[in-house]
Amino acid sequence: MTSAVSVRGLWKRFGQQVAVGGIDLELPAGRFIGLVGPNGAGKTTTLSMVTGLLRPDQGSVEVVGHDVWRDPVAVKARIGVLPEGLRLFERLSGRELLGYTGRLRGLPGAEADRRAAQLLDVLDLAGAQHKLVVDYSTGMRKKIGLAAALLHNPEVLFLDEPFEGVDPVSAQTIRGVLERYTASGATVVFSSHVMELVESLCDWVAVMAAGRIRAHGTLAEVRGDQPSLQQAFLHLVGATGRDAGTDLDWLGGGADR
């Protein structure tokens, strides 16, 4: 099995806080890969380092066989990124943003515009293409970000929380596009803390908590004998023992007001 992404000994500290504490990971190519973990697990930090947006303190990252830091030319042309918490050029309209991104990516102008028009259509943004991105809703922003990440037809797509704050209709649209994309042999790596979503979408999962990888492998391997990924995950991060019910015995109907 060839690796889409190969991470070795990856570390990142912010002051005293260890955000990522030594990650080794091989992500298989051609899969729909989910990086799951609770908030603060280090998912965003890891994805930022893998995509070259954040310099690691230690360790190396290879994407389809090319070192992210030593061979940026080969890597940047092969990856698409949708980061979380970073802005877009929001004072451009959706259409202009895609045209701009496509041309920066080196596509000829006419080709960039052709692909932009198709993506806007498929992602149901055609009606809002002349609106400034600053006026877009969260779901629309995620979709235009996804379109910008797909324009140059990357081999590996990194999406940080692509479904966060997205309505069900937009989520379904995004899903459709991603499934079509992976079916053609491309790799999607996306992070999420919604287990049901990961379980329904991914065929390969890496579980992260407190800056480390707790488990990785196909969905079936990670799930093991647990009934759901949610259960397996809670078990892995050691959050199964606590039952909140006993402390809040006054809460709810029937009890004394």
């Binding site: 995509t51 947006l53 050029f89 045209g99 920066l104």
Partner: protein, 538 residues
């Protein structure tokens, strides 16, 4: 506080306003200090104005000045809510929408609450000073009391009416964009006022008379005009002016009450869909590109230039910075030239001010810089990126600097010096672009997108280093051209060879820009993650 239970709504709303004022004191240390300091400064300023106005009593043109002052106060109240929509929370009637209130008591209550605060107190002091300056005789003093009350009510009603009429705008993104521009209006306004004051100082208050003759019929200035009219025993005129004010007040309150009613019953602005595109924007951006974009070079250069030029117009922060630079760049040399005090070399100000826009290029992108970073794979990409940005700047800056220089030269009638001043301007511009590119790569910092600040708290030192260090460096880099100018003037050759400074400055400036770009490019390419994290703090 239902309207039927008998609790006077007015008292409740005034108490609410008082608590809001008091809560200003309960903020964290620095904010409280700023709050108290601004209040004290406003009141001290008002008190000084009061004393100054009283001292003006008996001056021949005092009436013109106070009428103008009242008009400016009215204008201030009218535009204030547009620029500081967050300034007064009781200003936003949509916050009261869930309360069972009838419009009429609500209007009365909100008007009364508007009279509480530092702004109204400041206005009251100014108005009292104004009427004291022009009132002569018992009748005039009696009218003064009415005039001050009327003028003050007119001011606050004006602010309320404007705010209520524009609340949709003010709570929308466009409204917030407008607020960012307010600092700019104040900065440019201060320059114009400064210039006006200088002219008045040299030409005398008599200059104001023609303007005052019109404004004394415009409320709220008409109220102050009435006091002066009574002092002159022109009772008919005074009555007409006061009536005009009363009519204006009634009309304003009515307009305000009507828009208030509409606001309280119609859906709130946040749920309205702003999706209706205005036809112009739709047509303009239809198809592949604008007409002007086709004139840009192909490839990354043109793409970068197109985005940069668009942002000058569309991004409020960038627009504010540009308009400030453009305004100050022309005001300093031209106003000085008009007054006959300037030197033709002041024309370099335009180039200097506009060159500043090259500084902190990536900070202007905010965290959207990641989109650029993802497409920079080496020094070559970084060079083209920076060069595109510099070229976009030049598209505006070169003609503008040339225009300001020609204008200044024409005003001072020193045509012989035009080539050398142009040469100096271009050399300075080139030096600013070069140092700007380099500091953009070396000292990037975040620009907060909301509010008036241009630097986030932890990066002030970095910003200083970038801008002032860069400007000093640019000035030093220009030294050879300056020395050449001085040398030519010291000798007999200035008239014969002065024109040589134009090509020399142009070539030298271009060389400095190229050098700056060449040095900045590898730095940018090697430090992309560091730059991204530096510009993402806003």
């Amino acid at each position: 506080m239902s309207g039927t239970s008998g609790t006077p709504v007015t008292a409740v709303v005034v108490r609410l306003k008082l608590s809001l004022l008091r809560n200003g004191l309960r903020q964290s240390g620095g904010r409280r200090a700023a709050y108290v300091a601004s209040a004290v400064v406003a009141l001290v300023f008002a008190a000084l104005q009061l004393i100054g106005l009283i001292a003006l009593r008996g001056h021949a043109h005092a009436d013109a000045l106070v009428v103008l002052l009242a008009a400016v106060l009215g204008l201030g109240w009218a535009v204030m809510p547009l620029f500081f929509p967050g300034g007064d929370e009781t200003l936003d009637p949509t916050r009261l929408v869930m309360l069972p209130l009838r419009p009429r008591p609500l209007v009365r209550a909100l008007l009364a609450a508007s009279l509480v605060g530092i702004g109204p107190l400041f206005t009251l002091l100014m108005l009292v000073g104004s009427v004291i300056a022009v009132a002569h005789g018992a009748a005039a003093y009696a009218v003064s009391v009415v005039a001050v009350v009327l003028a003050l009510l007119l001011c606050v009603a004006l602010a309320r009416a404007v705010a209520a009429a524009n609340i949709r705008l003010l709570t929308s993104r466009r409204g917030r964009d407008l607020a960012v521009l307010s600092g700019l209006v104040i900065a440019v306004g201060a320059q114009v006022v400064n210039f006006g004051a200088q002219r008045l100082g040299s030409a005398g208050l008599g200059q104001l008379d023609p303007a005052a003759d019109v404004l004394r019929w415009v409320p709220p200035a008409a109220a102050v005009g009435a006091v002066h009219a009574v002092s002159d025993e022109a009772y008919g005129q005074a009555a007409a002016q006061l009536l005009l004010c009363v009519a204006a007040l009634v009309a304003l309150v009515r307009v305000w009450a009507r828009s208030l009613e509409r606001l309280m019953t119609a859906p709130d602005g946040s749920t309205l869909h702003a999706a209706v595109p205005d036809g112009r924007a739709r047509d303009a951006s239809r198809g592949a590109s604008h007409g002007w974009e086709r004139l840009l070079p192909a490839g990354r250069t043109g793409t970068v230039m197109g985005r940069s030029l668009r942002y000058i117009w569309r991004d409020p922060k960038t627009k504010a910075a540009w308009v400030t630079s453009l305004a100050i760049g022309v005001i300093v040399p031209v106003f000085n030239a008009v007054q006959g005090t300037g030197s033709v070399y002041f024309a370099c100000f335009a180039a200097g001010m506009l060159g500043i826009q090259m500084y902190n290029q990536f900070g202007q992108d905010t965290s959207a810089f990641w989109m650029v970073a993802m497409t920079i794979s080496g020094a070559r990409d970084a060079y083209v990126e920076l060069r595109g940005r510099a070229l976009a700047l030049l598209v505006v800056t070169m003609p503008y600097a040339a225009l300001v220089t020609v204008l200044t030269t024409a005003l001072l009638d020193t045509w012989g010096r035009l080539p050398e001043v142009l040469g100096l301007s271009f050399a300075l511009l080139g030096a600013m672009l070069g140092t700007g590119a380099w500091t953009s790569a070396r000292f990037p910092y975040s620009i907060p997108q909301e509010g008036h600040k241009n630097v986030v708290p932890g990066q002030v030192g970095l910003a200083w280093m970038s801008i002032f260090g860069g400007m000093v460096a640019a000035a030093l880099l220009c030294a050879p051209v300056i020395v050449l100018t001085v040398w030519l003037h010291a000798g007999p050759g200035a008239d014969a060879y002065g024109w040589l400074l134009l090509p020399a400055g142009l070539v030298y400036g271009a060389a400095l820009t190229m050098l700056g770009l060449r040095l900045a490019a590898p730095r940018t390419a090697a430090r992309l993650p560091e730059i991204l994290s530096a510009v993402s703090k806003g």
